[in-house]
C-alpha cells in the first residue's frame, strides 16, 4: 500500500512537472504583415518565441476566396506553410497555433502579391454563376412565400372574413409559403458561399451556414421563416379573432424581414427608408396576395362575392402606400434621373416600373370594366375576369423575378461615393465614433474619435484596432492607429479581406496603467 502511494506521488510529480513556458507569441512572419512581394511565395514561415503546434491555417484571397494550404509543418519554433499558387492582390494567412501550456493563440498576416488589389468596380466578389442563379432563385422563392403566401393568408383573415376559402386556394397559398420557407432556409448558406466566393458544391459546409447567418441577410431569413410559419398557422386556424391577429403578425413579420437588410432599408436617413420598405412590403403582400384567392373565388363563388367588393374598396389605400413608399425609396437610391437607364440598378428599376404600369393598367381595366359586369351578370362574366386576374398573377411573378435581380446591383448612391461606414461603441469609461472610408486600391481609411463619458474629446496614449471574423475563420488582425491630433486617431491602408459582420475591438490605452476595451460587431465592406 505504501509502495503504491509512493509510486502515485512519483507519477504525479512527473506528470505535473512545472511547465515553465508561457503563451507563445509570433516573433516574425515571412512574408511580413503588410509586405508586398513580387512573385507568389513558394512558402510562408511563422516564427514563434517557443515551440508551438499548428491548429488551423487558412488562406483568404483578394476576392474573399478561401484556400487550404498544401502542407503545414512545424519544426520547433518555426511553422512552414506551403500555399497553393496565390493570386495577385492582397492575401491573408489566418493562423492558429497552440503553445505547450495548452493556450491557443491566433492572428492574421496580410501581404500582397504583385501589387495590393485594386478591387473590382462594383466592390462585389466574384462568385461562380451557379451560386448567383441559386441566390436569385432562393430570393424569388422567398418573395413568392412572403407576398403570395402570407398575403393570401392575410386576405383570408381580413377580406374574406367568415367565409372560408375554397380548399384549392388554401393549398396553393400553403404551397407558396412552403416554397418561401425553402427559399429562406437555403438562402442562408448561399449568402455564405457568395461572401466567401466558394462553389455551389460547398453549400453543406458548416462554414457557409455560419457565415451566412452572420450576415445582415441572415436576420432577414430568420424573421421571414418565422413569419411564414405564423402564416401557415393563420391559414389552418378557424377562430376569427385569432386568425386575424396571427395573420396580421405574419404580415408585419414579412415587412420587418425585408426592412431588416438590403440596400433600400439601410440608405440614409434610415428612420425614413426602413419604415418605407416595411410599408412597401406590406402593401405588395396585401395586393399581390389577394390575387390568387380572388382568382379562385371568382371561378367558384356565386355572383357578387362580398370579398371582391371589400377588396375593391380597400385596395386604393394599399396602392397609395405602395406608390408613395416606392417613389421615396427610388428617389433616395438614385442620385440622378438618368441613372434609370445608365446604371444596372436603374435598369432593374425601369423594368420593374414598366411591369407595374402594365399591372396597374390591367387592374384598372378589371376594376372599372370587368368587375361591374361580373356583379351584374354573375357566372358568365367570370371567365374574362378570371383570365385578367391570372395575367395579373403572371406579371406579379415577373416583377418578383426582376426585383430579385437587385441583389446583384449596388444602387447608384453606393457607387457614387465610397460611402463611409460610421459606427459608435461606448462603455461607461470611454466611447468612440469611428468612420471607415474605403479607398479604391488602398484598402480603407479608419478615423476614430475618442471621447469620455461626457462626450468630451479624451486624449489617450495609444489606440489599437483588432479585427476578427471567427464565422469565416479569420483570426485577429492587429493594427496600431496613429495620433492625428484632437483625440482623433487614424489607420490608413486598412485591408479588409472579406465583406461581412466583423468583430471589431479597440484597445484604448488611457494612461500607462489603464486600458479600455471596446467591442462591437460591425458590418464592414470588402476593402482589398
Amino acid at each position: 500500500m505504501r509502495i503504491l502511494a509512493g509510486l502515485i506521488v512519483f507519477a504525479l510529480c512527473l506528470a505535473y512537472a512545472p511547465a515553465a513556458l508561457a503563451h507563445a507569441a509570433l516573433v516574425r512572419a515571412e512574408p511580413a504583415d503588410g509586405a508586398v512581394v513580387a512573385q507568389p511565395p513558394a512558402s510562408l514561415k511563422l516564427t514563434f518565441n517557443e515551440p508551438v503546434s499548428p491548429l488551423v491555417m487558412r488562406l483568404v484571397g483578394p476576392n474573399g476566396e478561401m484556400m487550404a494550404p498544401t502542407s503545414v509543418t512545424a519544426d520547433n519554433t518555426v511553422v512552414t506553410i506551403i500555399p497553393p499558387r496565390l493570386p495577385q492582390g492582397t492575401n491573408v494567412l489566418s493562423w492558429r497555433v497552440v503553445s505547450s501550456d495548452g493556450h491557443p493563440i491566433g492572428g492574421s498576416v496580410l501581404f500582397a502579391v504583385g501589387a495590393p488589389s485594386a478591387g473590382s468596380p462594383d466592390g462585389g466578389l466574384d462568385s461562380e454563376p451557379a451560386v448567383k442563379v441559386a441566390i436569385w432563385a432562393a430570393k424569388l422563392a422567398l418573395y413568392v412565400g412572403l407576398f403570395i403566401g402570407i398575403g393570401g393568408a392575410a386576405f383570408r383573415a381580413l377580406v374574406a372574413q367568415g367565409r372560408s376559402l375554397p380548399a384549392r386556394a388554401r393549398v396553393w397559398i400553403a404551397g407558396a409559403m412552403g416554397l418561401g420557407l425553402a427559399g429562406a432556409v437555403l438562402s442562408i448558406p448561399l449568402q455564405g458561399l457568395d461572401a466567401m466566393a466558394l462553389p455551389l458544391t460547398q453549400a453543406w459546409h458548416p462554414q457557409a451556414w455560419t457565415t451566412g447567418l452572420g450576415t445582415a441577410f441572415g436576420l432577414t431569413a430568420i424573421i421571414a421563416a418565422a413569419a411564414l410559419a405564423l402564416g401557415l398557422v393563420a391559414l389552418r386556424d378557424s377562430s376569427r379573432s385569432r386568425v386575424k391577429f396571427v395573420a396580421l403578425t405574419a404580415l408585419a413579420g414579412a415587412g420587418v424581414a425585408l426592412a431588416a437588410s438590403g440596400h433600400a432599408g439601410t440608405a440614409q436617413p434610415s428612420f425614413v427608408t426602413r419604415p418605407s420598405v416595411f410599408l412597401h412590403a406590406i402593401a405588395v403582400a396585401f395586393w399581390i396576395g389577394s390575387l390568387l384567392p380572388l382568382l379562385v373565388l371568382v371561378r367558384t363563388a356565386p355572383q357578387g362575392d362580398v370579398s371582391l367588393k371589400r377588396f375593391s374598396r380597400t385596395i386604393p389605400f394599399a396602392l397609395v402606400a405602395l406608390a408613395a413608399s416606392g417613389v421615396l425609396l427610388a428617389v433616395v437610391q438614385l442620385d440622378r434621373l438618368d441613372a434609370l437607364w445608365t446604371t444596372n440598378y436603374g435598369l432593374v428599376l425601369s423594368g420593374k416600373l414598366a411591369l407595374i404600369l402594365a399591372l396597374l393598367a390591367l387592374a384598372a381595366a378589371n376594376r372599372y370594366r370587368l368587375v361591374p359586369r361580373f356583379e351584374r351578370l354573375g357566372r358568365p362574366a367570370a371567365r374574362p375576369m378570371a383570365a385578367s386576374i391570372a395575367v395579373e398573377c403572371v406579371i406579379a411573378f415577373a416583377i418578383f423575378g426582376v426585383v430579385a435581380l437587385w441583389r446583384f446591383t449596388p444602387p447608384p448612391r453606393a457607387l457614387a461615393a465610397s460611402e463611409p461606414i460610421a459606427f459608435h461603441i461606448h462603455d461607461p469609461k470611454a466611447m468612440i465614433n469611428a468612420s471607415l472610408a474605403p479607398r479604391r486600391g488602398q484598402g480603407a481609411e479608419l478615423s476614430i474619435l475618442v471621447m469620455d463619458a461626457e462626450l468630451h474629446p479624451l486624449p489617450v496614449k495609444e489606440v489599437t484596432l483588432v479585427l476578427a471574423y471567427p464565422a469565416a475563420g479569420i483570426e485577429p488582425v492587429r493594427r496600431s492607429a496613429t495620433d492625428a491630433g484632437g483625440a482623433t486617431w487614424r489607420i490608413a491602408d486598412l485591408r479588409i479581406p472579406l465583406a461581412g459582420r466583423w468583430d471589431v475591438r479597440l484597445d484604448i490605452l488611457v494612461n500607462d496603467f489603464e486600458k479600455v476595451v471596446l467591442e462591437e460587431k460591425v458590418e464592414l465592406p470588402h476593402a482589398p
Binding site: Y16, A19, F513
Partner: protein
Amino acid sequence: MVHRIILTLAVGAAGAHLCIGAAFAHVTLETAQAQVGSGYKAVLRVGHGCEGSPTTAIRIRIPEGIVAVKPMPKPGWKLEVVTGKYPKTYNLAHGVKMSEGVTEISWSGGNLPEAFYDEFVFTATIADDMKPGQAVYFPTVQQCEKGVHRWIEIPPAGTPGGADAGEPAPALMLVPRPARGAPEGAPAQRH
C-alpha cells in the same frame, strides 16, 4: 493513515505544480491572498520578457487601500517611487495616521533575459476598512528592450478574472481578518 497523508501531499504538490506552471505565463503576485488590516509582503514574479526580449523596467501602480508601501531595492536596477495623496486618511497601528504615501514603484535600468526569472518585492499594509471578499489589482507595466507588456486588464466588477484574460493585472484577493483570539497574519508595518 500514512499513505493518506502522502496522497494528500502528492495531490497538493501536483496542484501547486500545475498552478505554478500556468502562472509563470503572466506577471503575478506570489501570495494572492491577504487579510484586511494586516501587513503584506508582495512578491511580483516575472517569468518572461516580451516575446523573447529581455525585461528592462517594471512599473507597478499601487491601488487604493494599500498603504505604507516600502519597495525592496534590487542590485543593478534603479529604484524610484512616486508619492501622492491617498484618497482619504488611513488609520494604522498605534494611532499613526497616513494621508499620503507611495502610489507607484519603478525598478528600471536593469536587464532580465528571457531565460531567467526574477522577483520584485515590496511590503505594504492593507487598510483596515477595505472590504474583504473583493480583489484589488496592481496594474504593472513591463518594459523590455523591444516592446512592452501592459499587465493592466481589470475584469469588470463582479466577474472573476478569467484565465483567458489577455494581459490581466496582478490580483490580490482580500480575506476577512481572523476572529479575536485566533493567530494573526503577518504583523502590521512597523516604522
